[in-house]
Symmetry: C2
Subunit: 410 residues, 2 copies
């Protein structure tokens, strides 16, 4: 039995825990495990690597669980329509899969990566390949359909909430009115910006306004909301998604003059600048001190502040995907279904990956307050269990230990 | 015995540990403890608060140790020359101190705060006050003279090094040339930017270039250094102080168009923008993907990633200051002298605060590599013990617990 693993899309603090869980299940089943370097794009360029030498050892799999980013490397590469005329990629991929004798391909990623695995499965089915194709979900954006929440989201949410709680204390030290705008990732969905509210849910300092891309805002309306709240307190914390926009659809980031970059899937790859623009606008309008803090890529790579629950689920979903393939499934994504809120319980399983690809799940209306500038108890109940628990790390020389990097292929 | 505590200047992740240590020593000695709200500026406005109700309890002092920012509130307020004509502040302060029967005043802060305590001591001596004035050091910048290193630096350094290690992994996931510029605080001294190098010292991913304000850089020189290094690897991490400048003295932040703001001491209060400018310049010059990450205020408030050694020393220095005052000392600062590098040992004591105030200690030449773009083994030996150990936190509901805030005084 020979299994091939790939990682794709933006990195997270939990995607390597899924890889560790998946390879662990493969090793247990006696399979030989290989990795694509830089996802399917790297596989097309013959960049693959044997994972057994390092990952047969449980200690290395444990270190891998706590290593942020995509250990195998990643890509943003869109395959052509498998029913279309452009068959070159598929012919190359399936020739290699057959020549190297792979029985299963596992692709760890978000909705674009599920598009890749769904297309490989369709081509395989059309052309009678015996190889199985399974998706293993991840994304800090939590915008994947077919699953209660995605691995990577809980760790990013824990870092966001922890940082917002700390920033709120930091901002409140001087006896003067001031506003801190914290810019949080999530270009299309507000799950991660909303998770800033977990900072205040435990009774400590939290955000005063939570702004998400599911709602349209006019700058004057935000200035008015800030003005009202500053009458009663010194410090205002605004948690703002990078994707906030006006009713006309203009991104605040565009107001800031950010050049929009698009990836291979046509998505905006970088929309930063919204927080900086809003902080500057509020300073001019309200005449108070403001500061913009961009959590930037820290929010997806801060493995030192990961959620233990998230890492555990990520590893379980990796193992679930491998078990499904070993049991003969293909064209599926490993999934997690919540069975109870309090106490939080869930069941693992699979869903049809063709129904997951290319869809975006947004924050539902019942999780957003009626004024559009906060989250409801329903969101807190949903998100709180996902940031529970702190991982046990080793910190040689005061820095968290990570698994050694794969060699750089020039 | 009645003691008064104040915090001043920029907050850190360890300044409350010093407060906890100092108040703990006061409580043990049977003293009553009070706090200035918002430093000496708040005391002038009669804003003080009894600390005993909350801080007599060891559990609350323990929570305080892990609460970032200045729990009492802070200020940036410069007292007039005590020998000069403007005596209004001093008369008010000393009238209040006498009326309220304070025996000791403890001011926790950096070099500007030591200026305040030195001036109060001079006025007290000139006018026969029996009150004792003691400085307790803190600053993430590590630029205070008279002490081996300052509380707050170790925790900031640990967060910077940890984040740079994680960002370096995150930046390396795609198979393309790219540069990440991490902007780090320290307007005049490069200690904190240099601490990014601790990320690589343990063998993991670290910065490729470390840029500090002690050295002048021309943009073309940095582009050339980046170009050379990118020939051998995909990803370049540049750790850059916010205070980097050209040989002509132009701040990179000024090239970015940042308006320089100055505080009550005439210091540049905010110089952010250097990283963004450099990332943009390198993108244009080298034609590679670049990203700027500003660690911003996260680096001074990330108590969840504090150094246990730093918190321990901060508390010890607080207690040392109180013991010194109880033993009759005034006009001193609690200090720490390193007695050995490996194993790291140190002695606590006091020094003359008048010799500390208003001086800046910069990164010495022997800690900077000859090309000016890295740090030497001598810096690593100096800094490594300061980031050792992780604090035991409690994380109710997945967020670190902080001591409840003092009431907001409108």
């Amino acid at each position: 039995m020979k299994l091939l693993f790939g990682q794709s899309g933006g990195p997270t603090a939990a995607i390597n825990a899924s890889l560790a869980g998946a390879v662990g299940a493969g090793v247990e089943a006696g399979a030989r495990c290989f990795g694509m370097r830089y996802g399917i794009e790297g596989f097309l360029a013959n960049k693959s690597v044997a994972l057994d030498p390092l990952l047969q050892q449980p200690l290395n799999r444990e270190l891998l669980c706590h290593t942020p980013a995509s250990w195998l490397g990643s890509c943003r590469y869109k395959l052509a329509d498998p029913e279309g005329a452009d068959t070159a990629d598929y012919e190359k991929i399936f020739t290699q899969l057959e020549a190297q004798g792979f029985d299963g391909v596992f692709y760890l990623g978000g909705n674009d990566s599920m598009d890749t695995i769904a297309k490989l499965d369709r081509w395989g089915t059309l052309h009678g390949s015996a190889c199985r194709f399974v998706g293993i979900p991840k994304t800090i954006d939590n915008d994947l359909v077919g699953i209660d929440h995605t691995p990577g989201f809980g760790s990013a949410a824990k870092f966001v909430a922890t940082s917002v709680a700390e920033l709120a204390l930091d901002a409140n030290v001087y006896d003067l009115k001031n506003i801190v705008v914290v810019e949080i990732m999530g270009r299309d969905a507000g799950w991660l910006a909303a998770s800033a509210a977990l900072a205040g849910a435990a009774g400590g300092a939290g955000p005063d306004l939570v702004l998400v891309p599911e709602v349209a805002y006019e700058p004057e309306q935000l200035a008015q909301a800030a003005r009202e709240r500053l009458a009663h307190k010194n410090t205002l914390i605004i948690a703002a998604s990078e994707g906030i926009h006006t009713a006309e659809g203009t991104l605040f980031a565009e107001l800031a003059g950010t050049t929009a970059e698009r990836d291979g899937f046509g998505h905006l790859a970088a929309t930063s600048g919204a927080g900086r623009w809003l902080a500057s606008y509020l300073k001019q309008t309200l005449g108070v001190k403001t500061r913009a803090v961009e959590l930037s890529t820290l929010q997806r790579c801060s493995a030192h502040c990961a959620s233990a629950q998230d890492l555990h689920e990520a590893a379980q979903l990796g193992a679930t995907g491998v078990s499904a393939a070993l049991a003969g499934q293909t064209g599926v994504m490993a999934t997690l279904t919540r069975t109870n809120d309090t106490p939080y319980t869930y069941a693992l399983g699979t869903c049809n990956v063709h129904e997951v690809a290319n869809k975006v799940r947004r924050l539902p209306a019942h999780m957003i307050t009626s004024d559009g500038m906060g989250v409801t108890a329903s969101f807190i109940q949903y998100a709180a269990p996902l940031i529970a628990g702190e991982p046990s790390l080793v910190w040689p020389e005061g820095i968290p230990a990570h698994l050694e990097a794969l060699p750089y292929s020039k």
